[in-house]
């Protein structure tokens, strides 16, 4: 019922929007939302804020670029039904590895170790030409053509992103209720107590990061088809911060928060330049971000949910308060 309420307008979008709004706004927000979801999954269920999610998305993206058609003459061409699973395999494996490295880090230290991993990866891609083609990276990447339709086709890519996002949200909620998901949450609440149950803490941490690698990898593949390119810039500090901003302004408590945050971010990123004199749009972006952080500590999703709840409560109470007034 609620899902249908949400799904219908989303499915109708390609018939309403022009290509710009569909691809540059809606599809881009979905793709960023998927990557941000991998971050909010870790934050919500493992209690770790990871700055390495763009790295995981980038690993999947680079895999597609390296094993796919590109115009820079680096890599080996493989059919997409090989390169896509390979991309996800690499991002999951990298996620597990990062989880293992960061297994003992919590709080601010987890932020820092993942940030260091992200920045190290960024510099590595920038310096390495054999695999990552350095500074320039890969361009001219074309999405696969399935049954005569390019997956980069505006509405095809939109539906693909929408489906991936829906699958990601469903996977997150299923995984959170699975025994391993429960163990991950238990580690978040009391790691030492998890050990006292006889469960080694490392496994849930590694599993959580690996799972986040799966989600981020999905976002990374879509992103490389959407951008038709990937380079060291795609895994740099800018995108790392962007995804963090999206996840946090959206709210970390609900999987849909990531997508709400992504819509706001994409609109701001695209149109800030029109709202204000073309020179000072970064000030506007910063100010809006600051205001959101200040007025909505738990993100926009929570803000919206609170507003709805308050509205309902008000309707309930309006009769009561009127009575009180007459008493005084």
């Amino acid at each position: 019922m609620k899902a249908g309420f949400l799904a219908l307008p989303l499915i109708a979008l390609p018939f309403v929007l022009n290509d710009f709004w569909l691809t540059q706004i809606a599809t881009r927000a979905l793709i960023l939302g998927i990557t941000a979801l991998s971050l909010s999954f870790l934050a919500t269920y493992l209690g770790v804020v990871s700055f390495a999610q763009i790295t995981l998305a980038g690993i999947a993206g680079y895999t597609i670029a390296y094993f796919g058609p590109n115009t820079v003459g680096v890599g080996i061409k493989l059919p997409f039904w090989v390169s896509i699973p390979a991309a996800l395999l690499f991002s999951v494996t990298a996620g597990a590895l990062i989880g293992y490295i960061a297994r003992r880090s919590r709080g601010i230290y987890a932020i820092m170790i993942t940030l260091a991993i992200g920045v190290a990866f960024f510099y590595f891609t920038r310096q390495n030409y054999a695999v990552f083609n350095g500074w320039t990276g890969f361009s001219g990447i074309t999405a696969p053509v399935v049954a005569g339709t390019s997956l980069r086709d505006p509405s095809t890519l939109y539906f693909l992103s929408l489906a991936t996002a829906a699958i990601a949200v469903v996977l997150v909620s299923l995984f959170a209720r699975a025994p391993l998901g429960l163990a991950i949450q238990a580690v978040r609440d009391a790691p030492s107590r998890v050990m006292a149950l006889g469960i080694p803490v490392t496994t849930p941490v590694v599993a959580a990061f690996a799972f986040s690698g799966l989600i981020a990898g999905g976002g990374g593949i879509l992103n490389v088809w959407y951008q038709e390119r990937i380079s060291s810039f795609s895994v740099g500090l800018g995108p790392i911060i962007d995804v963090l901003i999206i996840a946090v302004i959206g709210g970390l408590r609900h999987p849909l928060g990531a997508f709400l945050g992504a819509i706001v971010f994409v609109l701001l990123d695209t149109f800030a330049v029109d709202l204000i004199d073309r020179d000072r749009f970064n000030t506007l972006i910063g100010m809006v971000l600051l205001i959101i952080v200040m007025v909505a500590p738990n993100g926009l999703q929570q803000l919206a949910a609170d507003a709805v709840a308050k509205l309902r409560a008000k309707e309930h109470q309006s009769g009561k308060s009127a009575r009180i007034k007459t008493n005084t």
Binding site: P179, Q185, A186, D189, A190, M195, A196, I199, A207
Partner: protein
């Protein structure tokens, strides 16, 4: 491999010369204990007597500075905590860090799954899964049937103690160490706890740290008293109540009522 013959020969827990040192300070020093299979043993002592430190060393939360622990004849002194747990040694914690983000049922499920295997499963389990059934049975045993779907964060203090015991009873415990299960409970909650303790199956050996003399003396067969980290006295509840040393240091000269 007969459990019965093994148990007939070996005590459930045999502690020899156990000590734990922090810097130059011995929190527990040279403790010997022999606890028979199925026994109800209370460990008493004023604050700072070393009771919880003793538990920590027995379960492997802390490593021992000296001495040896045998459980059912097996030397477990060097085993990591999770291995001791799989051998049937369980404990509750006095200041429990529970999983505030999980429900009572999920917590108990996880405790069961940790021992019976399958906690690595990446898809949700069905309601009819044996481990879920077991978690629900544990909740009933611990008196938490009504609160089974509640979040742990919403539980009352007494319910948290009950959940602690529920967790400790998951799998097949053989030796149960209870660290002040009655601490902080309201007078109304205490009888329920006593009932729970006395209803524990006989094949489980229970070692109990307790401040509440009533609960301790009513639920135990035998009492050990520690003082300043060292052994002070042993005996049945009746003997202990009359022991001069114990009366002096622990009961503070106050007559038992």
């Amino acid at each position: 491999m007969s459990l019965i013959t093994e148990n007939a020969v070996c005590p459930a827990l045999e502690v020899q010369g156990i000590g734990k040192r922090f810097g130059g300070f011995w929190a527990v020093k040279d403790i010997d204990l022999v606890i028979k299979q199925g026994e109800r043993r209370a460990i008493l002592g004023p604050n700072g007597a070393g009771k919880t430190s003793l538990f920590n060393v027995l379960t492997g939360d802390l490593s021992a500075s000296s001495g040896q622990v045998r459980m059912h004849g097996e030397d477990i002194s060097r085993y990591p905590m999770d291995k001791r747990i799989r051998r049937g040694l369980r404990r509750t914690y006095q200041h429990a860090h529970l999983f505030d983000g999980l429900s009572v049922r999920d917590t108990l499920f996880l405790a069961v799954a940790a021992l019976r295997g399958g906690w690595r499963q990446v898809w949700p389990v069905s309601q009819r899964d044996a481990r879920v059934q077991q978690a629900e049975a544990l909740a009933e045993l611990a008196g938490l049937s009504d609160a089974i779907h509640r979040g742990v964060a919403e539980l009352s203090h007494g319910q948290r103690r009950q959940l602690e015991i529920g967790i400790a009873l998951a799998g097949e415990p053989r030796v149960l160490l209870l660290d002040e299960p009655a601490a902080g409970l309201s007078p109304a909650e205490r009888p329920k706890l006593r009932e729970l303790l006395t209803s524990l199956p006989n094949h489980i050996t229970v070692v109990l740290i307790e401040h509440d003399m009533n609960i301790a003396l009513q639920t135990s067969d035998f009492v050990t008293v520690l003082y300043n980290g060292e052994w002070l006295a042993d005996g049945t509840p009746d003997e202990i109540v009359l022991d001069d040393n114990v009366r002096r240091v622990y009961l503070g000269g106050r007559d038992g009522d």
